[in-house]
């Protein structure tokens, strides 16, 4: 069975596109759209890598990332942050909160695939 990825993103069409390409690449893809319950979903799914959007309803991706890093169980979980804001300060904030990688929208499918593979070491 392939590695597991949890995609935390609220845009339905982005979810479908990314899910499709990851599934084509052999990944098991779970998705979740609500920031408030994202941590519980990580605990439930136990993914090998998380793709986390910054702008989520009810809770920001940065806050979720902070909590993931504060929990010893997820402190080293690979996290790819997605954001529409590509300024230096946003990148620095993502690094400071512990993002493994940072990608700005719009991104190419190849970039996402490459990043996810790198993070899991496949």
């Amino acid at each position: 069975m392939g590695k597991r990825v949890l995609l935390i993103e609220d845009e339905p069409n982005i979810i479908q596109a990314i899910s499709f390409i990851l599934a084509q690449d052999g990944w098991r893809v779970d998705t979740h759209a609500d920031g408030k319950t994202a941590l519980a979903e990580v605990a439930r799914r136990n993914p090998d890598v998380v793709i986390l959007d910054v702008m989520l309803p009810n809770r920001s991706g940065f806050e979720i990332l902070q909590d993931l890093r504060a929990d010893p169980g997820t402190a080293d979980l690979p996290v790819l942050m997605l954001t529409a804001r590509g300024q230096k300060k946003d990148r620095e904030m993502a690094e400071r909160f512990g993002a493994s990688r940072f990608m700005t929208k719009p991104f190419s499918n190849a970039e996402v695939l490459s990043a996810v593979r790198d993070l899991v070491g496949t």
Partner: protein
């Protein structure tokens, strides 16, 4: 008499521009040509009646010859030089430059002001891009649509033998996102179009209000009447006030002005102020008012011709200057912080304690001013709210008052252009001071 280094140069320049012989001008103002020659070469100080006579003979407002205008120009030139970090400007020759090439000096000052306005506009735009929630949300929406379109289109192009169901789904998604992108872009353009140029800020709201007040001489006769005019009437024709924020500031200023005028009617106050030597505490007692209100009232008195102008400055609890009426010869920073030695800030650190200080402003010709300052709580303070104070400082040219026997405190305008060589509270290096 007001000290000056440039009045003579300006007189000479004006005389030469008009093609008037020195002997003719001297005769017109009833002084000897030799004396006029000394004046024109800045070897004699003048002021008062002779300055007014020369102004009349040269068909120029005497205040334009007076030091007030020059000090402002010099400060503005020094500020422009301070910002040109890569250019070795001959700062020590600024007075000579301003005296001999007044037109060029005005051009530099005007362009520096334009640059400041543009910088403010850019900062406002940046701020808006960074912090406008509607703009941020709209841009995020657009980028999300573009991302979805980009990913979906790539899938359709790159995936061989894509299942019919997926192909149909992705085509639908493309159509949806394209529509969303188009609508989002149109809405964003509409939103940006609705932002007027004045909202973006051709100058700060405070600048707009102060420009208007400057044009009105800081005296609003419409509000001095028993039945005062409404704010709309007073502000009619105020072409300097364009932005909504400036209108709001001006409206608040008018309310306060009217309250002060009602409590201290012009006729009675004007006489009392002159008799009291503009002492705010004496006037506070006479009119049962508060010192800050009295200082504001003094600063709003109509300007006497030929007299040096009185000044007023206020700051909020953070030390930010919120009102500036610079007196003749006392330049105030247009942006950034003022000299920390101002009695204004001493008052802020000692709320409700009135402060009187004789200050000497750093410069080639040091000028003295008698200042009164006080910090009072801002309106709206309550038991459970943190105290917030507003400080006010009245600035009286020493020539206009009986100066009491007080030690002289040496102050500057703002650190960046202050010539004082050694100052323990200097905030940043000056382009003028020699290294300590």
């Amino acid at each position: 008499m007001p000290a000056t280094t440039l009045i003579g140069s300006r007189i000479r320049e004006r005389r030469l521009t008009l093609g008037i012989k020195q002997s003719v001008l001297a005769q017109t103002v009833e002084i000897s040509p030799a004396y006029l020659n000394l004046i024109e070469h800045n070897k004699r100080r003048i002021g008062g009646k002779l300055l007014v006579s020369l102004g009349r003979a040269l068909d120029i407002d005497p205040t334009q010859l007076a030091e007030g205008a020059e000090a402002t120009v010099l400060a503005a030139l020094r500020d422009a030089a301070a910002r040109a970090e890569d250019i070795a400007v001959e700062i020590d020759r600024v007075e000579e430059f301003a005296g001999q090439f007044s037109g060029w000096a005005e051009l530099v000052v005007m362009q520096r002001r334009q640059i400041a306005v543009l910088e403010h506009t850019v900062e406002t735009l940046n701020d808006r891009l960074a912090h406008d929630p509607h703009l941020a949300a709209s841009l995020h929406d657009l980028l999300s649509s573009v991302t979805a379109i980009n990913s979906t289109a790539s899938i359709l192009v790159d995936t061989q033998d894509i299942a019919g169901e997926w192909r149909d789904r992705f085509h639908r998604n493309l159509a949806e996102d394209s529509t969303r992108l188009a609508e989002g872009a149109q809405a964003l353009v509409r939103y940006l179009d609705e932002v007027s140029d004045t909202e973006l800020g051709t100058s700060t709201p405070q600048d707009e209000v102060e420009l208007w007040l400057e044009a009105r001489g800081y005296h609003l006769s419409e509000l001095e009447r028993a039945l005062p005019s409404g704010p709309e009437t007073v502000l009619r024709g105020a072409t300097q006030i364009k932005s909504t924020a400036a209108k709001d500031l001006a409206a608040r200023y008018l309310v306060r002005y009217r309250a002060d005028a009602a409590k201290m009617p012009l006729g009675a106050f004007s006489s009392a102020a002159a008799e009291a030597g503009f002492d705010p505490l004496r006037l506070t007692e006479m009119f049962s008012s508060d010192p800050a209100a009295v200082m504001r009232r003094i600063a709003s008195l109509p300007q006497d011709d030929g007299q040096l102008r009185l000044g007023l400055v206020s700051c909020d609890g953070s030390g930010t200057l919120i009102f500036r009426k610079p007196p003749d010869g006392f330049s105030m920073p247009r942006v950034g912080a003022a000299c920390p030695l101002w009695p204004l800030y001493q008052a802020l650190s000692r709320p409700m304690v009135p402060i009187r200080a004789l200050v000497e402003l750093a410069g080639r010709e040091a000028q003295r001013f008698l200042t009164y300052a006080v910090a009072q709580p801002q309106a709206g303070a309550g038991f459970d709210a943190p105290p917030v104070f507003e400080a006010t400082m009245l600035i009286l040219p020493a020539e206009r008052v009986d100066v009491p026997d007080l030690p002289v405190q040496r102050i500057g305008s703002t650190c960046r252009i202050c010539p004082r060589a050694k100052c323990d509270v200097r905030r940043e290096p000056s382009v003028l001071a020699a290294p300590a």
